[in-house]
Amino acid sequence: MATVHPIRRAPVALHDHAMDNLRYIRQTMERAASFTAVPGVGGVVIGCTALAAAVVAAGRETLDGWLAVWLAEGLLAWIIGLAGTVLKSRRSHMPLLSGPGRKFILGFAPPLAVGGLLTLALYRAGVGQPLPGMWMLLYGAGVFTGGAASVRVVPLMGLCFMALGAGALFAPAVWGNWFLAAGFGGFHVLFGIIITVKYGG
């Protein structure tokens, strides 16, 4: 005997439909927030501190002194970036570690961790020349992968850092500090302004 298939599927229970709607709202908000999770104003401030760090670091004659300035700047930038992201996520009523924040951290953190380890290894070997190029390449890779789901300007910023990093890697060592000023200073200010004006905050 042939099996009888119902023409209509069983109706969806009301609370299942409500749950599905809540899930949809949450997912849409998460995806939308990831569009501009990167703080624009924070980027401008980081750029300004990086420009100041470049001026200070230029006066240091030893690798230790130069590295200390840039590592301090890295720490400061990390604090500013985190504060900016927290403020922005609060303003858009999204928890920091919800979809967008988590996605950005997952994409951004691994290249940064690699950068930290390679910096330590190169410092122990007494090699400073590749550091500016390597930092910008890895930072750019992190911004590109972390911001892949974001507005186009974020991965574009990552690509610009990678291009500048590649240039710095093969440029004379004495230019390294100014490559860093152009990247961590110039690009942050430029893209920070674009993000602030176009996407708010």
Binding site: A13, L14, H15, A18, M19, N21, L22, Y24, I25, T28, M29, E30, R31, A32, A33, F35, T36, S92, H93, M94, V151, Y199, G200, G201
Partner: protein
């Protein structure tokens, strides 16, 4: 003043939840539609979004998005700004305060429905 507003909001929410529990729901048909709900949710997480950003985010067509965005605009839930950028037309959407309130009401509604079903 702020305390008074918060108390009013709380009362309003209680009233809505009671209404839903009593089986007299006032479901907001304007944002109940899936794409319109998506537009409002996306704008709730951003100060503003352009037409193209919304289209990419909600994976919909130009026609569909403009029809539903117009309905939301007519209801006063979103505000539309048209301008030119590099000689290209640019349409930008923002959630109005009444749109944000509508989304909050809708969230409460869904929450109350789930709670009511669980309590049965």
């Amino acid at each position: 003043m702020a305390k008074q507003n918060a108390a009013l909001k709380k009362n309003d929410r209680k009233l809505r939840l009671a209404e839903i529990a009593a089986g007299q729901p006032r479901l907001d048909r304007i944002i109940h539609e899936r794409l319109r709900l998506g537009i409002v949710s996306a704008l709730a997480a951003n100060q503003s979004l352009t037409f193209n950003e919304l289209k990419k985010l909600l994976q919909t067509t130009d026609g569909n998005l403009s029809v539903h965005a117009r309905k939301l605009e007519e209801a006063g839930y979103i505000q539309v700004t048209k301008s030119f950028e590099n000689r290209l037309p640019k349409t930008e959407y923002r959630l109005t305060s009444s749109g944000r309130r509508a989304l909050e009401r809708y969230l409460d509604h869904m929450e109350a429905l789930i709670r009511a079903m669980r309590d049965r």
